[in-house]
C-alpha cells in the first residue's frame, strides 16, 4: 500500500494543513508504511460483526436544561484566549469573498 503525493496533498488540504515539498515526501513514506501495516486487519472475518464506537453502553445521557451561572464563563473569560476581539465578539477570517 503506497500513498501518492497527490493523496498526501489532498488529505493535508482536507485537514487545513500546509506542507512543504520536503514534508510531502517524508509523510508520503511514513504514512504509506503505517497504512501498509493496517492491511493485516483484512485477515479477520468481520462479515457478521457489528462495529463498536464506544464501551460504556450508555445512551441518551441527559441533564435538565437549566443554566448554572456558577459554572458558566463570563464573557470576559470566554474572550480571554484571543486578542482578536471586536465589540465583545471573536473576530474570524472572512469566509465569503467580496466581488
Amino acid at each position: 500500500m503506497s500513498l501518492s503525493k497527490k493523496q498526501v496533498l489532498h488529505v493535508a488540504n482536507l485537514a487545513k494543513l500546509k506542507l512543504s515539498g520536503k514534508d510531502v515526501n517524508k509523510f508520503k513514506k511514513q504514512l504509506s508504511e503505517v497504512i501498509g501495516y493496517f492491511e493485516q486487519l483484512k485477515e479477520i472475518d468481520t462479515s457478521k460483526t457489528e462495529p463498536a464506537s464506544q464501551t460504556t453502553g450508555l445512551e441518551n445521557v441527559l441533564r435538565n436544561d437549566e443554566i448554572n451561572t456558577a459554572s458558566s464563563l463570563k464573557q470576559k473569560d470566554a474572550l480571554s484566549g484571543t486578542e482578536d476581539v471586536h465589540n465583545g465578539y471573536f473576530k474570524v477570517p472572512a469566509v465569503i469573498k467580496k466581488d
Binding site: V34, Y37, I44, T49, T55, L73
Partner: protein
C-alpha cells in the same frame, strides 16, 4: 528536610508538625530547581499558586487540627498535572506550540476535585505534544529524560508525570492514557500508574485526544496512594456524559489470574518476560490461581487502535484554528500532522469502510475476547511494553516502530477496562525499571487495588526514588 514518600507519611508529618505545607512546597521546589534542568519533566512550575494553597492548608490545620485531616482526604498532597489538564490561571500547553500562550479560564474536574480534597498544585508536566507518543520525545518543549539513566526515554506520553513521581519532585501526578500513556511511563520510571475504567473519571477540562479511548488517571509511589487519588477523582460530574458511578464488588474467595498467551509471544524481550512471570509467581505464592487464557485478536489491537485514534484525533484537533484561543495550525508539530492526516485519510471518501469501519468491527472482536476471558478469570497479568526503556532517538525517525511500543496497551483502551501498572524491579545489566500490568473487567478497580497491595506485601515492595546527582 527529608521529603515524605507516601500520602500517609505526608499527613502524619503535617499532623505531628514535623513540617508545614509551606515547607513541603519549599522542599519540592528546591528539588525541581536543582535537578529538573537535566530531566525536563516540568513545562511550568506554579510556584505562586502552590504557596497560596500551602498557606491556606497551614491555616486550616491551625484552625481545625485533627478535623482538617478528616475533612480533606488529600490535605497537603502535592500534585503535578500533565499539561493537558486545564488549570485555571496556569498556562496549559498540551506540550504544543499551538497552545504555548493559552491560559485556561476554568479547571478540569479532576484538578478541581483534587484541590477541593486538599491538594497543592505544584506545576504542569511535560509530555508528548497532544499526548501523541510513547517516549516523551514528541514534546515541542524538548524531550523528557529517564531519571534512572538520562540516555533513555521515560516512556510517554505522560512522560513528565512519571518522572516527577520517580524523582520526588511531587508526591503524586496526573496523566492521561489513550493507549498506555500512563502505564508506559509508570513502567519505564519505576512507579505505579492507574488507567481507570473508561467512564469512571471525568474527561471534562482535559485536552481531548481520542474521545472514545481517553482515560484520566494518575501516578504514585504505592497502591494506597493510587487508590486515595482515585477515590477523589472518580464519579459523575454532570459534565462528561460517559460517566457512571459504579464499582464492581471485590471477590472474597480464591482469585484467578489469567496469563494471556498472546501477550507473551514473539517480540517480547526475555528480561520483561522473566519479570512478569516472576510477578505472576508472587501471586501464586499468595494463593492465587494462575490460568492460561487466550485473547486471540491481540495482534490486531494496535492496527485497530491507530485507525480509530487517528480518526478521532483528526476530528478533535480540527478545533484548533487560532481564533478563540491558541495559535494557527501551522504550529502543529510533525507527529500531530501525521496523525491528523492519517485520521483524515481513513475517514475520507472511498477509504472509510476499508479502514475506519473495519477497525470498529475489529474493536468489537477485541471486546468480545476480553468479555470471554473474564468469564474464566478475575484479572489478567501482562507486560506493559515489549522491552525495557529504550534509548532516546532510537525510534524517533520510524513512526511505525514507535507505534508498536503500544502493542500491549491497546487492549485495555479499546475495551474500556481498567489497568494498573506495577513496578517489579530493575534490569540486571543497566538498572532500568521493569514492571507489569493487571487488567480487570470494567469498574474492577477495587480488585486491582487489592491485588496490588497483595503484591506489595508479598514481594516486600518499598517506595523508591531515583538517585539524582548534580
Amino acid at each position: 528536610m527529608k521529603l515524605p514518600l507516601t500520602i500517609d507519611e505526608t499527613r502524619k508529618g503535617l499532623k505531628e508538625k514535623k513540617y508545614s505545607a509551606v515547607e513541603l512546597v519549599d522542599a519540592y521546589l528546591s528539588r525541581i530547581k536543582k535537578y529538573d534542568s537535566d530531566l525536563n519533566s516540568f513545562i511550568t512550575v506554579s510556584e505562586d499558586i502552590a504557596y497560596k494553597q500551602a498557606r491556606k492548608i497551614d491555616d486550616l490545620i491551625e484552625e481545625l487540627r485533627e478535623e482538617a485531616f478528616k475533612k480533606y482526604p488529600l490535605l497537603g498532597v502535592c500534585v503535578a498535572h500533565k499539561d493537558v489538564y486545564l488549570t485555571r490561571g496556569i498556562r496549559t500547553t498540551a506540550a504544543s506550540k499551538v497552545l504555548s500562550n493559552y491560559v485556561p479560564a476554568y479547571s478540569a474536574t479532576s484538578v478541581k476535585r483534587l484541590e477541593n480534597a486538599g491538594c497543592i498544585t505544584i506545576g504542569k508536566t511535560n509530555c508528548d505534544a497532544w499526548a501523541h507518543g510513547s517516549s516523551g520525545e514528541n514534546s515541542d518543549f524538548g524531550a523528557t529524560k529517564n531519571p534512572w539513566n538520562k540516555l533513555y526515554v521515560p516512556g510517554g506520553s505522560s512522560s513528565g508525570s512519571g518522572v516527577a513521581v520517580a524523582t520526588n519532585f511531587t508526591l503524586v501526578s496526573s496523566g492521561t492514557d489513550t493507549c498506555g500513556s500512563i502505564r508506559l511511563p509508570a513502567n519505564y520510571c519505576g512507579v505505579f500508574g492507574l488507567k481507570p475504567t473508561y467512564g469512571s473519571v471525568s474527561r471534562y477540562g482535559i485536552v481531548a485526544m481520542a474521545s472514545s479511548l481517553d482515560s484520566v488517571g494518575h501516578f504514585a509511589r504505592c497502591v494506597d496512594d493510587i487508590k486515595a487519588v482515585f477515590d477523589v477523582t472518580c464519579g459523575v460530574d454532570f459534565k462528561d456524559s460517559t460517566l457512571k458511578n459504579a464499582s464492581k464488588e471485590e471477590k472474597q474467595d480464591k482469585i484467578k489470574i489469567g496469563i494471556p498467551k498472546e501477550f507473551f509471544s514473539d517480540g517480547l524481550e526475555e528480561k520483561v518476560y522473566d519479570a512478569v512471570m516472576g510477578a505472576a509467581e508472587v501471586f501464586k505464592k499468595a494463593n492465587c490461581d494462575l490460568v492460561k487464557v487466550s485473547l486471540p485478536h491481540t495482534k490486531y489491537a494496535n492496527s485497530a487502535y491507530y485507525i480509530i485514534q487517528s480518526a478521532e484525533v483528526s476530528s478533535n484537533l480540527g478545533r484548533y484554528d487560532g481564533i478563540k484561543y491558541g495559535k494557527k495550525r501551522k504550529y502543529f508539530g510533525d507527529e500531530a500532522k501525521r496523525r491528523i492526516m492519517l485520521g483524515t485519510y481513513v475517514l475520507s471518501t472511498g477509504y472509510y469502510d476499508e479502514y475506519y469501519l473495519k477497525a470498529m468491527k475489529v474493536r468489537s472482536k477485541i471486546i468480545e475476547d476480553v468479555q470471554k476471558v473474564y468469564e474464566k478469570v478475575d484479572v489478567v497479568i501482562a507486560p506493559v511494553a515489549p522491552t525495557p526503556p529504550f534509548k532516546i532517538g532510537e525510534k524517533v525517525d520510524d513512526p511505525l516502530k514507535m507505534y508498536l511500543t503500544d502493542v500491549y496497551a491497546a487492549t485495555a483502551n479499546l475495551s474500556g477496562i481498567p489497568s494498573i501498572a506495577i513496578p517489579c524491579g530493575f534490569t540486571k545489566d543497566k538498572h532500568l525499571p521493569l514492571g507489569f500490568q493487571l487488567m480487570g473487567p470494567r469498574f474492577s478497580e477495587p480488585l486491582l487495588f487489592k491485588l496490588g497491595k497483595l503484591y506489595e506485601s508479598v514481594s516486600n515492595w518499598k517506595p523508591v526514588v531515583a538517585n539524582l546527582v548534580r
